[in-house]
Amino acid sequence: MNNSNIQKISNDLRRLPVMYDNLFKNKENLSLATVYDYINDFNNFISFRDNLESKINSLSNDVRDEYKDQFNKLVDSYRQSIEAINTALNNYRKSLDVYKLNDELNAINKPSVEEESPFIEITPDNEENMEDNNDYINLFEDNDLDLDIDQIPTISEFTNNYEMPLEETLNKNVPNLEDVESGDDSSTSDDDIFEEVDLDNPLEIDSPANIQKIEDNTLKEEKEEEEESKKEENDLEESNQTIVNNIKNDINEISNIYNKVMSDIDNFNTESYDATYTFYNDVLRLNYQIAKAKNEVNIISDGYKPELESLLAEKYTKNMELVVEDLNAIVSRYREEYSNISLLDYLLKNLDRRVEPSLSSSSYNKTEEIYKLFKKTLIDDIDKIDVINEETLINYFDKYNKFLDKDKEIRNKLTSAPNNSEVEKITETINKFWDDNEVIEYFNYIQEVYKEYSTKKISSVEASKAIKALKTYKDALINGSDKAVTDGLLRNLNIESWAIIGKKYEDFIKKFKKEEIVEVKEDKTINPNEIESRLIDIRNDILSSIDKLAIIDSDATNEFIAHFEELDSYIKGLETSNNEEVKDVIHRFFNDLINKLTIRSIRDFNQYYANTKDNATYVNYLRSVARLVKGIEHNLDYKNVKKDAYEVLNAYKKYIGKEPLFSVAGDLTDYVKNTEVKEQNTKDPNIVDLSEDDVRFVDTTSIPLVTEKEEVKYAIAEQAKVLYRRLMDFRLRYDKELEEVSSKKTIDKNEFELYKLSLLVDLKSSYNLNEQYLSLFETPEKITLDNYIKIQSDKSLLKEHSDLIDIDRKVYEVLGQRFKEELKSQRKTEEAKENKEEKDKSILDRFVGKINDIKSKVFKVVGELPEKAREALKMKKKDALRAAFVSLASLGVVGFADSVNTQNNVNASAIETNMDGDMLDDKAIEEVVSTVEEPSFTNPNTTMEEPGDTIENAIEEEKDPVVINGVEYQMEDDGLLGEITIGDYVTKTNPKISSSMYQESTAHAYFDDEPSVVVGVVYANHENDTRVVAKTMEDCKKCLEHGGYPVMYKVVNARVYEKYAGNIDDINKIVEGYLAKEDVMEVSPDEVSEYLEVGRSL
């Protein structure tokens, strides 16, 4: 038993309730700034509790149970509330809703453990007795002696009855009496048996030697006890001193970490994810250190407390406290959007960490900056509020409230500050700020919204809408939209919000209407083209957002509806206009079948969704509409369009219960009729004809939708049936056309193969079939309806399955690979023949042309450039033109490149590297083959590097690129240096890498589903014949520095990663398996199972 350990455990048992109490003291009114303190406190408590338990468990048996019992009683009494706190914190981690966390924590009642505390306080006075008692208890209870006093023999009984066996007696090594008397025990045996037995042997008890010995032993024991007692006191003192020293160190550490955080901020680079992460971690560490030191000071004994408190106050100053609060707020926001580096950057700029409590000479500039920033934040940040994401609203209000506090603080200081020019200037700045009409309007309005929201009179959605409505309205005024538009906005977009806020705001609205609308209206004219263009743009946004919808994700649906409502309101606003030109725009817009379908039928269907919440039907309907619209726009195969049209009509009639309004039905019918005319002209008896009845084959309402899973399953089944019919149609056409072509005896074998592939791709594209269906097509016996449903169901019932209608880019890779293989075998057989170069070139050209044709069909307009990007482009247009020259030159046109080079002085070396001229040698052929993987218009070799000369830099000068080994990179929005950047990095830093490798790796980057899931780059070093897998940028750098070059870029892609559920061990095994088995440069995803097996067997 170690007294020092016992002492520590006793202390810890005293600390545990204090820490537990703190969990209840510190929970009141948590904010985003203080919630991490609380989480730290909680984590500290848990780890302290667990440590204490293991300390107790490590005690010897004789004392453990006593402490264990105390510990268990304490922990049991805490269990319920600790579990409740844990649940609340877990909820918080998911929702980041600090208000909810407060509610949940406040609902937890702290059990009154003090009244029935099982803990017996151990004080220095009773501690020794306690220990004695322990020994006493342990003697009888733990050792389980079960003695019966009557059965203990008396001395005489023992003497008379004890008979040692003769042989044993003779053999005993009896000690020499003289030796015993003189204390010399050298003659005793190794066993010392009599030395041990003598003291208890009644036969020897009265001997003078033993009496002397007993006396000596008694003295010795007393002395030992005394020494032990002194030692215990010293140990205790030493132990306390150690604890105090530890606490002092912990407190001192606060300043160190604080300085580190400040230095992080000074070194902060918006382009560096590492810097951000370091900062983020350091702030968390600072929080932890502060919480730890505070806790430790609280529980230390009174003797040391004042000293430590004063040290803490010295190290953790008031100013630091304010800064830490700011930092915590920043970190909270960062956690919410931690991929958004610019947000962190912005917040850091707002951090007024240098403001001292007193007004210094720099205060004026700081003050002006604060107020200027606030005005910007107050107005601009409204755009960051997302109606369906309450956190964005909370963030906005947080900033708003923080400013109010800061404003109050500054004004308080001013009242007591001496009157000088600096103070006057500051006062003037503040007055100017509060005299600004725009500020006042926004400020008062938002204050009212906040009041309504914080008292829970309105929801976060209503509050968000109300705030956004003000901004939209003001923007409309500023941008000079006509009165009809602004009135429309007021009535339709904002009316709900305004009405919610209350009658007092009617005056506010009136004021706007009277004073500002009239002024703006007089100066501005309507631009119908702009309105029309805007309408089409929003319509396109709506169609794009349909792609993101998922049957089981009602959040995506709500988001879609929010977008749609915005459009709806805009149109309604326009519809109220008396302006003939605007009316004409609206008329034209709705005269277009596509627009009717997109806007009006969805508008009706929104109502259906609002009533039923039937997300599956709603999503399926929207998708049919989107498919139909795209089909009409791109004039795709009439049968598909016709089917989609029927789907839309049927769904509409079935769920809305009537014909669509606005003649949509009539228009669709006309459309179908028109396509039927075409059909007659091109009628082919071998093609499956889909009549109206055919497309009405599934009535989903007859299937009971039991669970969400089931619902998805039925939706998949329905979709699979449609695809099945589409595929059968496809197959018939394919077979028929092939038969026709192959019957021509004169056809060249190569041409036939090419034709087969192009036909396959063309048909696949028009039938919207992906790779999975394609593979089934190649093995026709697999095509059954059951197979289809099974494939789709197996994929993942709860996974969004939009790939059913998307063209899978992956198929191009497969086709590209097939072309390569064909080319290789082609070349082998052609080698002996004459004019082989010409033939190769001809074949290659056709391959490349065909592949480019295939690739070219994945193109769509997805949106409009943001304003600032547009402005930047104007400035940089000349650079773009020059870069395009280089791009064209790199395609291998000598004359062209020369003319470009002389006329425009473009980067000559960039061109020369691609100017081999001879397309027929092996190297050139390889290069051309490599372009199969890469569309020529994105050839990365055409880069014109001018360090720092990027549009991003032109826009945000302070946003420096990341520089690694002299190569600059722009940080992506998600904070990562993406794969393409790794590819760039690899080739730019290592001249050994050929352009074909470069293109290959870049092509992979383009083809990958998700850049972030690529696990590694395999590097080879031919000098020492080694291969390694680099998983991070740092690893890549090391490999390159040691002469390695990448041989396989995409070891594991998104699909494989998904398949193995991110199991890094398996993935590593796949890589090892690959390295052990292969020496080629590529691995297809389908082969990874095989590599996994090899890897596992290694």
Binding site: D853, G863, L873, L881, L891
Partner: protein, 76 residues
């Protein structure tokens, strides 16, 4: 399709810097987007046809495009 749109080609977003016609064919000068802003370093020209996009890969066509780009550059 007009300049200042964003177009998606094989999953990559490009900014359309400029559009122009040659021999009744429509062409677009595009620059890949990096994050929100277009990056002109990999700019190129594409041919637009029936809503699809094609690379400029014929010798004669390239010469014509080069000439057009030259005109545009001088104009800018």
């Amino acid at each position: 399709m007009v300049a200042n749109n964003i177009v998606e080609i094989e999953g990559v977003n490009y900014a359309v810097v400029e559009t122009f016609d040659i021999d009744n064919n429509k062409y677009a000068l595009i620059a890949p987007m990096e994050g929100e802003e277009p990056n002109i370093n990999k700019s190129s020209v594409i041919r637009l046809e029936d809503g699809f996009v094609y690379p400029v890969d014929q010798e004669e066509e390239k010469q014509k495009v080069a000439k057009k780009l030259n005109e545009l550059m001088n104009a800018n």
